[in-house]
Subunit: 291 residues, 2 copies
């Protein structure tokens, strides 16, 4: 292996340490403690683990854990009513509806009940529009984490040729928007792209978020390029990504491992978003008071 | 010149003729006549010409002209109040706030008072989000017109390499989204792109929407590629586009002229959007009635 490793665990730890200071400063300045309301419907075991992690990290950052749990058979109206209450509650800075929700629920209209200034996942339709229009708002955590990693390793984004493989709402599209906003030349490639290897070999930065294990290999990478692997797949040999790590690391200049690359950034950026949400609401309340 | 000409005037005329039939069929089926409320604040001479054109075309399509005019010195509250009234009025299918508005007004919050199902310009934050999320909604007229031209000339979009030059809210970003949704591999290039000619020469389709007169020339175009010119510039020799037409037409396979290419499509797609808005509202009302 010749590539340098992008250590997501170390970057996430630094982001979290800096955030803790920023939270203290925010509380000292405003008297408001930011709080995150994770909303879990039912008892999906994986979701329980994820939510427990988010709650623990929230508390460790000095923010309030305002977790809400609804039973497995909660109706659409019950979840709606909870989300409306949280939307109106000034103690609640951020709201996160843990997905997936049980089958009797329709997730999309529930997500859109979260006001953009509390949308710490950056997934509501309004948040997606605000990103494309470059209006202030909260950006999806994993895409924001990708940018944070590039910045942490001083990878130039402005003017860079970036290929994003994958066009999902969660990762591909928003990371492309964030990169365009940072003046990169961005190509959105996907399963229907012809000559994917050739397209990728033109890139200074490759972001793999296509959800196909090991799809991206040495022939996709220009020597010295930066490779960010957003994929995560469980196999007999443990976790791996969309990038075939061994061969890719022989060609790339910098590369994220899986696990330990993009993964740890997601919760770190959720915490950053929760503080940012509290700031946004503080600014909006100030603007309303002086209007 | 070796390229075939893409005749936007002819395509727009066909779109408008088909629309007229679709409007008649919609009225026969629902008893509802679609109506477009153009909103003009003040008397900017260019805006007056544009609005007059839109109103005339609306009537010619069999739809109702519900034009609204406010004085040059209208306050933010007066425009807001008019937009809220139009938003609530079931006779109004589409609302179009003619831009620019006079200097005392703040356009962005006014635009966002238009409900997505009446947003015939496709410019509200919610409409922009719905496009990125591929939810039903109204798409911006010029980008939709670009797609219509490609389809009219049977230019394959799926799997094609497309370079969009320009990342404006009005054209570059939405046309990129529409092309990704149609399974193209899309590169968003712009003023900070390095080696623009090389990037463009990889494209089967070039969409120039950068706002720089004659920037795109023969060296940017792969032989046989399709070139769509969204630019429009007034000069001593009349109108011209972002593409240096003469040299580009020696290399391209198909090319839009300026004028007579993308330009005529914009009003045609506005009319299509007005009918689509009426259909959307009819569907939403039906869904609400059966819910």
């Amino acid at each position: 292996m010749t590539a340098g490793l992008i250590d997501g665990k170390a970057v996430a730890a630094r982001v979290r340490a800096a955030l803790k200071d920023d939270v203290s400063a925010f509380i000292a300045r405003t008297g408001v403690q930011p709080g995150l309301a994770t909303v879990l419907v039912g008892g999906d075991p994986a979701s329980e683990v994820y939510v427990a992690n988010k709650r623990k990290s929230t508390v460790a950052s000095g923010m309030a854990d305002l977790h809400q749990h609804l039973p497995e058979d909660a109706s659409q109206a019950e979840v709606e009513s909870l989300l409306r209450r949280l939307a109106a509650d000034p103690q609640v800075s951020g709201i996160l509806l843990q997905l997936p929700v049980p089958a009797q629920l329709n997730a999309a209209p529930l997500i859109d009940l979260i006001p953009f200034e509390k949308d710490v996942d950056g997934l509501t339709t309004l948040s997606v529009g605000r990103l494309a229009q470059q209006k202030p708002g909260l950006r999806p955590c994993t895409p924001a984490g990708v940018i944070e990693l590039l910045d942490a390793y001083d990878v130039p984004i402005e003017g860079a040729n970036v290929v994003v493989i994958g066009r999902s709402e969660l990762v591909g599209r928003p990371v492309a928007q964030l990169l365009v906003n940072r003046n990169a030349t961005v190509t959105i490639a996907h399963s229907r792209t012809r000559n994917l290897a050739e397209v990728c070999r033109a890139a200074d930065i490759v972001v793999a978020a296509v959800g196909v294990k090991g799809l991206i290999t040495a022939e996709h990478i220009k020597p010295g390029a930066t490779v960010i692997d957003v994929g995560i797949h469980r196999g007999p040999e443990g976790l791996s990504g969309d990038v075939d790590f061994g061969p890719a690391a022989e060609v790339a200049g910098l590369i994220t491992p899986v696990p330990g690359g993009v993964g740890p950034m997601t919760i770190a950026m959720l915490l950053v978003n929760t503080l940012r949400a509290a700031e946004l609401q503080y600014e909006l309340a100030g603007a309303a008071a002086t209007a």
